[in-house]
């Protein structure tokens, strides 16, 4: 089979700079060498059929309603060596711990602001700051029970955190299904290679959610906006895997500041809500008055300590892109440690000199909306048209505080099946970090891959695909 090698200056996850297969990826080399093109094509078709049958499709925002699309799955796994994962894991633990401390601080003591490390206005005037969280005591002071931290590997070979997702990070169902798919299609690969298991993720998530309540035997539910949501498959999947009820707003009600679930055997009090609904829609009596997907009175139950909401309300201020540049300082401030994972250098357009630089270098930079997500509201300078740059120039000038810019990083690549054989495609990694009694995660995460040649946008809503992610245990195979 024809394998296109990465071009010079790029970091490839499988091939080193001499186009030799990295030692920990040896299993792949043998597999790809032996693989018969027809067999692979057959397996790819099989994967497509299986994913369709499972119903892992997603709805793309901005397209006609009801267009379910399959997220393309690539058969070639991304492989991470044991020592590398150890380091990533330590860095992720450290980062999520600091972010939880930060969220506690900004709703209680404001130490980091008093210390002059983050300007008060950037935190408090932020739209994601929830005054309603003021002084609220949460069990174990945990705000972010589930974090999805987006990592990329730059051409220098090092990992960088691209963004922290602290609201309702999604994608973990793809991570789990991708593994199941690989084990089904290529069981022999797993027999030869010590790939760390990940199928205990739902158990860890359930443990984390139960540990978030003071009740030793809490009732946990997953609150979904319903089947028209793009991640509904995942909501149903996780609820089923954890053995908890999947509910929608109208299934819950509040009496005497307590939340109840309607069941066939009568009302049942709910202790923990794993919500996949944005803050503003949780309770129409405090947020958006038109919300039909929330639970009226939920805020009163939360505020009086009778229910846990995971993730907490008001976590969005911690993953806002204008707060992101301060995370390394948070780690030093709260933990007294040096950050293990690197941040991408960031220009904040709210600063005059930064804005000047950004406007003069739009063609080189990636510009992002501070509160944008999903690859929307983003300019990739080197791939942009003059018209797009002009649009961003106006937008930045009108609301500088809405934008940040970063150098265009060269995301690492990994061999991927394309129309003409196998070619390198850029990818990122989203590990899911769970904070309960302790901080836990399953090895790896969701690997997203940009399927268009040269593209750096991996979001599924923008035509990205996924791969299985292997973290090797012990010796390379």
């Amino acid at each position: 089979m024809q394998i296109k090698r990465p071009s010079a200056g790029m970091y490839d996850e499988i091939f080193d700079e001499n186009h030799l297969v990295r030692p920990h990826c040896e299993v792949l080399r043998q597999w790809l060498l032996q693989a018969d093109e027809h067999l692979i094509a057959e397996k790819r078709r099989e994967a497509d059929v299986l994913f369709h049958r499972l119903g892992i499709t997603f709805n793309v925002y901005g397209e006609d309603q009801g267009t379910d699309r399959l997220i393309p799955f690539d058969l070639i796994p991304r492989i991470i060596s044991a020592p590398e994962w150890q380091r990533l894991q330590a860095g992720l633990r450290q980062r999520v711990q600091a972010l939880n401390r930060f969220l506690y601080d900004i709703y209680h003591d404001y130490d980091i602001i008093k210390a002059g490390i983050i300007p008060a206005e950037q935190v408090f005037a932020n739209n994601q700051y929830q005054p309603g969280m003021q002084s609220l005591k949460l069990p174990r002071n945990i705000y972010v029970h589930i974090a999805g931290i987006d990592l990329i590997r730059h051409s220098d070979g090092d990992y960088y955190v691209l963004e922290d997702n602290l609201r309702c990070p999604s994608g973990v169902s793809y991570m789990l299904e991708n593994r199941k798919m690989m084990m089904r299609l290529f069981p022999e690969l797993f027999a030869d290679c010590p790939v760390a298991p990940i199928d205990h993720y739902p158990a860890l998530l359930g443990e984390t959610l139960r540990a978030s309540s003071l009740n030793p035997d809490p009732t946990v539910v997953l609150l979904s906006p319903g089947r028209f949501n793009s991640a509904y498959f995942e909501h149903a999947f996780l609820a089923q895997q954890m053995g908890i009820e999947l509910v929608e707003g109208p299934d819950l009600y509040v009496r005497n500041n307590q939340v109840f679930m309607k069941t066939t055997s009568g009302p049942r009090q709910v202790d923990v809500i794993y919500r996949r609904i944005d803050d503003d829609f949780l309770d129409p009596l405090i947020g958006n008055p038109d919300s039909m997907i929330g639970v009226p009175g939920l805020y009163a139950a939360y505020r009086t300590g009778n229910v846990v909401i995971a993730n907490a309300m008001g976590t969005g201020v911690g993953d806002d892109k204008s707060i992101y540049p301060y995370v390394p300082e948070m780690i030093r401030f709260y933990l007294g440690e040096e950050p293990i994972l690197k941040n991408v250098p960031t220009w904040q357009c709210r600063r005059k000199e930064d804005m000047k630089y950004v406007l003069e270098n739009l063609h080189k930079l990636v510009v992002k909306e501070t509160q944008g997500a999903g690859g929307y509201g983003m300019l990739i300078g080197p791939a942009s048209t003059k018209k797009e740059r002009e649009w961003f120039k106006n937008a930045i000038t009108a609301r500088p505080d809405n934008y940040i810019a970063q150098p265009t990083l060269c995301l690492s690549s990994c061999p991927t099946f394309v129309e003409q054989g196998i070619a390198p495609r850029h990818l990122d990694l989203r590990p899911f970090v769970l904070s309960g009694k302790k901080i836990q995660m399953v090895p790896g995460g969701l690997t997203r891959v940009a399927l268009k040649e040269g593209s750096l946008v991996v979001n599924s809503s923008q035509g990205g695909g996924t791969k299985d992610t292997w973290v090797l245990e012990g010796e390379p195979c």
């Binding site: 602001i113 005054p131 009596l285 405090i286 505020r303 009086t304």
Partner: protein
Amino acid sequence: MRLRIKHDTTYRYESPISGSIQYIRLRPRNTTQQRVVEWHLHTPGDTSQMIDGFGNQVTVMTLDDEFSEITLTAEGTVELTGKPLALNDSVFPTQVLLRFTRLTEPDAELKAFASQFSPNKRGLLRMMALIRDRIAFTPGVTTVNHTASEAFKMHAGVCQDHTHVFIACCRYIGVPVRYVSGYVHSHDDHHIATHAWAEAFLGRNWHTFDVVNNLNVAESHIKLAVGLDYLDAAPVRGVRQGGGVEVLSTVARVSRMTEAQ
């Protein structure tokens, strides 16, 4: 000065409602400017209490039976101390009050208007007077969904609109400001006693800006709740099952008590 308040809020429904939950902010708290001598809130439902993030006392009421009409009655006696506003009684940093909300996001016209004022007391007093002149006090033309920019364009509205316009302008020029809902005593007994005004944070002090009355002091005001805008401080926010069209009527009387009382 001691004030006696009686405030009835009545909802009449086209057809009976079968259930409801409401957040009711009709319970004043003690502040430097007011002391609650006695207070009662009567509702037809079950109630529980919470203090929200702004420090407001919120009564949560639920109804499970059928009702064609419900009345909430708040009544009591409050002593006004005549003292100025506390230096900083905000439970959180004042920068939160710089944030625009859907109701207070200024459009280009409102921004242009706001830009002519300096972010100091003189500037804000002038701004208050001009807003009062521009927006004629006209009940019934706006609803709770009208934004500051809309009311500004319409040249008409009620205290809530005046306050939203003032808030939008203050935030635009960088002055932290909060929405206040409450009662005001007036010598004219027919005056509407439920009221809204603003408190702006200048330097190190809070200042009252009662835009409708073009007043800079809260000499006859009773504070019920504060927030970023009306939605945070609303006396009642609720949802109900059934009911069809609703007719709301509010009667609030604030009278001054004599020594003998």
